[in-house]
Symmetry: none
Subunit: 138 residues, 4 copies
């Protein structure tokens, strides 16, 4: 199994930061967790929203702990949908909007998660995917 070591986390975070630097999105908070849902690395880019410190970490936690990206959780947590109310469980740590992605190894096992927060949901998702890509090519 691939492990989300500090080197791996740093690589993911750097790729995310580079993507921010090369594009038009605002500064971000980026969090990487291991398969235990425990924080490995976190960076707050200068000027990133303070609320994003917690949200980025909680997105990573959501992705690891539910083995789902948080856009999927967004859909499933709407009124009437299967996971309606999931945002209140786990001390509010489950985030119900995009920007959290599970990290999967070659066999599809979830080995960690990345969470990005700081812009619109679309921007967060975009930056998270830049991090994920670095992980998959890493």
């Amino acid at each position: 199994m691939t492990e989300v070591t500090l080197d791996v986390a740093t690589e993911i975070i750097e790729a995310s930061e580079n993507h921010v630097g090369e594009s038009d999105v605002p500064p971000m908070c980026i969090a990487v967790m291991d398969e235990g849902g425990n924080l490995v690395g976190f960076h707050r880019m200068d000027g990133a929203l303070l609320a994003s410190i917690d949200i980025a970490q909680n997105k990573a936690y959501s992705a690891v702990s539910l083995k789902l990206d948080t856009e999927t959780i967004h859909e499933a947590s709407q009124p009437g949908e299967s996971l309606y109310g999931i945002g209140e469980t786990n001390d509010g740590r489950i985030i119900t909007f995009g920007g959290g992605l599970p990290l999967e190894d070659d066999e599809g096992t979830v080995v960690g998660g990345i969470g990005v927060s700081g812009g619109s949901v679309e921007e967060d998702v975009e930056v998270a995917h830049a991090g994920l890509e670095a992980f998959e090519n890493g």
Copy 2:
């Protein structure tokens, strides 16, 4: 950068209180935070709702930490909208209805926030704007 000193906070709170005194709105709780999301000043006017003690502070926190007024958060947090569920992140400190406003300096940098609670949302917003105006003219 303008700093939200105690003098600045006091001026904002006083302007808000004066607006309450001159109009028909109920007594309010008024909270002012600095750019780090830390409380600088808080007043509970006589008779203001007890729940408003926390709500006013959390509105100020929401405005600082997301750099958004809480009316905007209200819209974005509705079922199906992009930030649905944001009210459960950050230990429930993000308020999803009006009455919280970011304080911006001349260059548009968010340097703090004001949160007002005690009446209807419209009333809270009105009083918060009275505080904001004092800040902008201060």
Copy 3:
């Protein structure tokens, strides 16, 4: 019964601030609560410790809720003493060192509390007493 209105709280806070201004103690956080243990007024003087935001409020809460000054709680909470462990109750809101004082009316009824934090315990106590004096002469 004397009530701790916003005017009363403001007077207490101002007297505390004036004492800081006229003496050698560092900037303080000053909190005033009513008889229900609910915050009425709070000021953080420029440069006051961030930890003091919570500590000042918790000192005021401790003084109201136990009808004791927090120096007395300090003594009673030492290992082997009668209130050993009190600091862990009430979600950690009981403070076990000086700087919190109950506000009593002429008949000795506790009608509120003041909490001061920002310097050494001795300094906090000194500033709290300046606030109390204003209350008693007010």
Copy 4:
């Protein structure tokens, strides 16, 4: 005033990690906060204790919010000493043993904090000082 940007935080964290690599101490969690007590950067070195994720952050918070190193807090929080019980205030975020250091600019203003956890207190303190040294020479 010097600001604890992400670059500054990264430099501090790297210096701490290098010190671990060159010495005999176990892997560490290293957290850096800004003057508002908000997290800027965090790294968990491979194999570091899970409990250290929170402890490192709380040590940084303690150092910023009390403008004290946590060894000093350790002494002052012993039974009978002036700050006995401080570890329960602020939702338990004040750490009462070494490994947290305030970051001061050239004028002695506290502009942030570093928190290190993972080994014995002596080891944590040693690594925190390596980070501080990088900050001061940076």
